[in-house]
Structure formats: C-alpha cells, structure tokens
C-alpha cells in the first residue's frame, strides 16, 4: 500500500516536472532536456528530485532548481528537495526525438550524436554543420562552437543567409 502510494506520488511529481520549462530554451521541459535524473519518494512521502547540470558552469541550474521547487510547492509538495548529481555526465543523447522536433520548430538545430570519435584531441571538426532549422538547407557552416549559452553553437545558412543556433552535441 505504502509502495503504491509512493509510485502514485512519483508519477504526480513527474507530471509537475513536465510543466517546468528550461529558462534558456523555454520550449523544452526540464525532463525533456534530461536534467531530471530521478524522483525519490521516501516512506514518509518526502520528495527529492535528482537533477544534473548540462554544463558545469551553466548559470541556469540555480533558476531551474528554484522553478522546480516552486512548481512542486504549488502542487502541494512544499517540503520537496532538489539534489545534484554529476554521474553519469549529462549528454544531449538523452533528448528524445519529439523534443528535437520542438527545438527545430523553435529555430534551434537539434544536436547530432555525441560520440567522440578518434583520439583525445581532435583539432579539426569531424562533424558536418547541421541543416538550417529555417529552410532545411545543408549549405551551412559552423561559425563558432561557443554561442549565447554554454549549450549552443553559432551557425550560418548560406541559402537563406541568416545565422542560426545549434544545440551542440556533448
């Protein structure tokens, strides 16, 4: 009975987390981004949300923690806690296909696969620039692997002649 109650709580908390959007990419929830790793419910009904940061220095993580606690408090879980884990390290491979489509519709090219081919130091970019999220052209280039936030690179579309961002694979 207690176990069933815990499972019900967990599902309810996960549903609340589906409504917490990433502050930098507001079309994706923190679950879709893979930031939420687990929800733990102890035998007294206490809720702990386990999160992992995207990048070590991502300044949004504090806002995300705040938003999670606020959303849970509104749903009646005012004593919920957030715990941070670093293992396994966050990867863009955790972003599911439907979320990738949302990114593209928002104007951000979704990430490719994060596989790290070759040796320890790969100077030349082995990967192709992503297709343009606006016009789908493949005639694109990566201008800089560091963009407006830690998780995005800056690209340029030669066909529609405008810059766009890419969620970079990591």
């Amino acid at each position: 009975m207690i176990r069933a109650l815990g499972a019900a709580t967990r599902d309810e908390v996960l549903a609340v987390l589906d409504t917490v959007m990433d502050p930098e990419v507001p079309v994706l929830s923190v679950r879709e981004l893979g930031i939420v790793r687990d929800v733990l419910v102890d035998d007294r009904g206490g809720v702990t949300v386990v999160v992992t940061p995207t990048y070590s220095g991502c300044p949004a993580i504090q806002v995300i923690e705040h938003d999670i606690l606020e959303a849970l408090a509104r749903a009646g879980y005012s004593d919920a806690k957030v715990r941070t884990t670093y293992s396994p390290a966050w990867t863009t491979d955790w972003i599911p296909e439907p979320a990738r489509a949302k990114l593209k519709a928002y104007g951000i090219a979704p990430p490719g696969r994060s596989g790290e081919a070759g040796g320890l130091v790969q100077l030349m970019r082995a990967r192709q620039a992503p297709p343009c999220p606006y016009c789908d052209s493949r005639d694109t280039e990566i201008r800089s692997e560091f963009g407006s936030t830690a998780c995005k690179s800056v690209c340029w579309c030669r066909s529609c002649r405008q810059p766009f961002e890419e969620f970079k694979a990591i």
Partner: protein
C-alpha cells in the same frame, strides 16, 4: 591478545589533507584561469571570440565551484567554495603559475590556453578512472567540456601560427615565454605520490609524454618552433606549494574585493 597480521596489505589510505590539497590544485587552476579569461569579456578581437572566451571561462568557473566545494567537504572545517575562493591569500592558493600570468595579447591568451587545455584533457582523461568515484564523475563531465576547449585553442594556434607574419611572431613569442611555466605541470610531489599510490590520482610524470606529443604535433602544423626543454624546477618553488608570481596577488585583489569588503553579504 595481539591483532592478527593481515595477509593482504591494504592500499594505503591517503591522509585527508593530501586529498584536500589535490582538490585545491585542480580547483584553483580553474578558478584563476577562468578569472583571467573573464578579463576578455567585452575586449575580444571579434564578437565570436569574446563569447567563446567567456564560455570557456564559465565552464572553468563551474568546474572550480564543484572541486572547491568537494575540497571544503574533505577538509571538514566548514569552508565552502566561496570561502575558499574569496578568503584565502595568495600563499594559500595551489594553482600552477602558468594560469596566473597576466592575459597579455590575444596570442598570449590563446597559447597559454592551448598549453593548459592539452594538459587538462590528458589529466581529466586519466582521472576518469580514479577510484574516488565523485572525482571520476566530475572529471568525466569536465572532459566533455575540455574537448571543446582544446579544439578551440588548437584551431587558433594553427590560424595564428600559420597566419600572417605578425600573428606568427606574436604566438611564437608567447610560446617561448610560456614554455618554462609548463614544467611545473608535470613535477609530482608528495601529494601526487600519495594519491597515486591510493589509486585516486594518475602518475603525473607518466602524463608528460602524451602532452609532449600532442603539443609538438600542433606546434609543428602551426609552423611554430617548439622551445628547448628547460630544467625541471623544484616543486618547492612552484604554485602547487603556494609560491606564486607577483601577478596572483593583483588578480586576487580584484577578484576578492567585493566579498572581503562586505563579508557575509548576499544578493
């Protein structure tokens, strides 16, 4: 009754202060280099570079936060990552001297970054197999970021070295003046030895050949001359034991002034 002698000698458990020292070294390298890179914010030669250097800085400061927090927990004296960053004096910092040198021109910043980034990927790669699982996890995460860093600085080494006469001259001058500071990176001392024996840290001296090969390969492709190796300095005089150049004090004065002027303040 006497205690039976164990048939298998257990791995030596490092004294807590050795791990504390080691985490300070890892964290301080990142804190100080991150601060140096942040000085470029608003001064980059082009917008993309301004943003790139700020991004790398942010990654390093994020890593420093995690490592210094761990250091504070290992020490067990109640010091947080903020206390360690803002309320230690220069002699208590454990960063290598390479990262504290003033940022210089763009070529100097890139050359220093490249030499550090190669060291960083080699070290982090080895630390992912540390038997301290928390440190291994942080290393695995940081390594993903460091791969982006070294690709950025490495590509710039090629562009500057194999660019114009002036860019070549400037980056060669930078490499020449930075070279002697790289020997400190691979000079193990008692802390490294103790943690290596305990399976927590890699054998620092064994990492040097990997660094050497990677750095020489890129310098050669960039048409730059690799400086002759210098005599390895004694660790006793290096940043790892608190001996710093005059530049660290100036950096700390700027970095710590707000926190020290208003201790305990929050916003």
């Amino acid at each position: 009754m006497t205690t039976p002698v164990p048939s298998v000698v257990p791995a030596p458990t490092p004294k807590p202060n050795a791990l504390f020292e080691y985490l300070l070294r890892l964290g301080d390298d990142r804190l100080i280099l991150g601060h140096r890179l942040s000085e470029w914010c608003g001064h980059g030669p082009i917008l993309e570079e301004d943003i790139a250097l700020a991004n790398v800085s942010l990654d390093l400061l994020g890593q420093a936060t995690i490592l210094l927090r761990m250091a504070g927990e290992v020490e067990g004296q109640g010091r947080t990552e903020d206390t360690l960053a803002y309320f230690r004096d220069a002699v208590e910092f454990r960063n290598c001297q390479l990262v504290e040198l003033p940022r210089g021109d763009f070529a100097f910043t890139i050359a220093r970054q490249f030499l550090f980034d190669v060291y960083d990927v080699v070290l982090l790669d080895a630390l992912t197999s540390s038997n301290n699982t928390e440190l291994a996890a942080v290393a695995a995460k940081s390594l993903k970021e460091a791969r982006y860093h070294v690709r950025h600085s490495g590509e710039w080494m090629l562009k500057l070295g194999d660019g114009t006469d002036e860019s070549h001259r400037r980056v060669q001058t930078a490499v020449d003046s930075l070279w002697r500071f790289t020997t400190e990176l691979f000079a193990p001392d008692v802390v490294d030895a103790e943690l290596h024996a305990a399976g927590i840290a890699p054998d620092l001296a064994a990492l040097q050949p990997k660094w050497d090969t990677l750095v020489r390969e890129v310098l050669e492709r960039a048409t730059l001359t690799t400086p002759a190796n210098v005599v390895r300095p004694s660790r006793a005089r290096g940043g790892r034991t608190g001996a710093h150049t005059e530049h660290l004090g100036h950096l700390l004065a700027e970095m710590q002034i707000v926190a020290r002027s208003h201790p305990g303040a929050s916003w």
